[in-house]
């Protein structure tokens, strides 16, 4: 049984070279820009992020930058004023692979390594 290795890949997104992990999360959250978010969104089937989606992404970014961590589930609900079911529906790839990934937050690797 091989030891799990966290691999990364260098891609050019929105004219910028960015490292991504094997699940498509930005390796270094500080590399994130709104342009990268828009292009990642297009890759996931969202041609143009709407105001509500931007509000969610900006909340996630702001929370992360202020607190150094992602919001907990209830904080996410309260902060976005959306239920998590609504959030799941808002992004084709859901909360984790959609909202959180597009916002450039670190990969939440809880027991998935």
């Amino acid at each position: 049984m091989a030891e799990p290795v966290r691999t990364r890949e260098l891609r050019t997104v929105a004219g910028q070279e960015v490292w991504f992990d094997s699940e498509g999360f930005i390796w270094e959250p500080d590399d994130w820009t709104e342009g990268i978010a828009a292009e990642l969104a297009r890759e996931s089937g969202i041609e143009r992020l709407d105001d509500v989606q931007w509000r969610v992404l900006r909340f996630l970014r702001g929370y992360y930058l202020h607190n150094g961590r992602a919001p907990m589930n209830r904080e996410l609900r309260n902060g976005t004023e959306l239920s998590l079911v609504e959030l799941e529906r808002l992004f084709p790839d859901g909360i984790r692979m959609g909202a959180r990934r597009l916002a450039g937050l670190p990969n939440p690797k809880t027991c998935l390594d």
Partner: protein, 386 residues
């Protein structure tokens, strides 16, 4: 949503703890919180007596004859490391199962990668049960031990350990059980069932605090010391004490944990293990039936809940299990466990290794209302998201 928490993550740790356990821990520790087995003052002697009494209770609880062979540890993983590393010699072979937790798999993997041992994993069938014949087929003349889970923390299936113990005994191989999920729910009689050792934790269905567990050995199984330090005995010697239990213990014991373990045993014995299991399984059956009726919800290993723990693992089509867990928590106040549950081989066999799954695990304080709320919440997810 309300602020009420519906806690369905008891396979990770039971919550809440019985109030009498928490209260008793504080009261007793405040009264006798000295260093057990050290010093000659009366308070240390009192603490030492309390530890000895708890060892005797643990031995009785698991059907083992010798309280001195109850070795306290931080948890089941710690105890498993102690027994595995203390048993093996270069060239040995070990057998475990594809149901096992990393508490078994990682020590074996480490030893194999280090070139010390080889090991094989027995498969489980479609119902999540290991066939004793499959274990028998893996035994070799060099097999030092069979080390396996008593109850899967992913599928909830209780393994036929008495039959596996018979197979092992016939070949002179000790059977070592990880009883992290079963202790407090399933009777374990080491002497009667031919089990050489059990590794347990105190904070799950024994309703004690985290940080206390242990290893219980039958007299026939000797385990070498692999960690060394102060024991409060033979202090003039640089050789670690070789009498049990100190042979496998070091440093000051977690007295507060030992007190909590004893009080947890009081709770389990007061409630009755069979009654606890029966009640939790009735609720688990209700949950299984409710989840099975929801289109888009997959259950794993839950067709037959006889010989089962109050654990159900599930996925929702098209929704990442981490998102299911987040929705249950954030929208409905329901705490579950998502991921691969530190049991990667099971998830590989289930085809869920990449994303994991959502585990519901019930406990002594789970109510019918909790279960019905979980079913209602799960019914919303495929509908609300789809």
């Amino acid at each position: 949503m309300t602020d009420r928490l519906i806690y369905l993550d008891n396979a990770a740790t039971s919550f809440p703890k019985p109030p009498e356990v928490l209260r008793g821990m504080v009261e007793t520790y405040a009264r006798v919180g000295a260093s057990p087995g050290r010093s000659s003052h009366d308070l240390a002697a009192q603490a030492g007596r309390l530890v000895d009494e708890t060892r005797a209770r643990v031995a009785r609880f698991f059907g083992a004859p010798d309280p001195d062979r109850v070795i306290f540890a931080a948890n089941a993983s710690d105890a498993l490391n102690t027994v595995i590393l203390g048993l093996v010699r270069p060239g040995d072979h070990l057998v475990a199962t594809r149901l096992d937790h990393n508490s078994v798999l990682r020590p074996l993997h480490h030893l194999a990668e280090s070139g010390v041992v080889t090991y094989d994993l027995a498969p489980f069938d479609g119902q999540g049960v290991v066939d004793p014949d499959a274990v028998a087929a893996l035994l070799r003349p060099t097999t030092r031990a069979v080390v396996m889970t008593h109850g899967s923390n992913v599928l909830g299936t209780i393994q036929p350990v008495a039959d596996i113990a018979r197979v092992c005994a016939g070949r002179g191989v000790p059977l070592i059980l990880d009883v992290a999920q079963t202790a407090g729910l399933v009777p374990i009689d080491m002497a009667g069932q031919g089990i050489a050792a059990v590794a347990f934790t105190g904070h799950k269905s024994l309703y004690g605090p985290s940080g206390i567990g242990g290893l219980v050995l039958m007299p026939e199984l000797d385990v070498a010391t692999t960690r060394f330090g102060g024991t409060g005995m033979d202090s003039a010697s640089l050789v670690h004490s070789q009498a049990y239990p100190l042979r496998l213990e070091l440093g000051t014991l977690n007295l507060l944990g030992v007190i909590g373990l004893g009080l947890g045993l009081d709770f389990v014995e007061g409630q009755g293990m069979e009654a606890l299991h029966a009640r939790e399984m009735a609720l688990t059956t209700r949950l299984r039936d409710g989840l099975a009726a929801i289109p888009g919800v997959t259950l794993y290993g839950a067709d037959d809940l006889r010989g089962h723990l109050p654990v159900l693992t599930t996925n929702v089509d098209g929704v990442h299990p981490q998102d299911v867990g987040a929705i249950l928590d954030g929208d409905f106040g329901i705490a579950t466990r998502v991921g691969v549950h530190c049991a990667p081989i099971v998830h590989r066999d289930l085809g869920t290794i990449d994303r994991g799954a959502v585990r519901f695990s019930l406990g002594a304080f789970t109510t019918t209302e909790d279960v019905d709320a979980a079913i209602e919440a799960m019914a919303v997810i495929p509908h609300g998201v789809g």
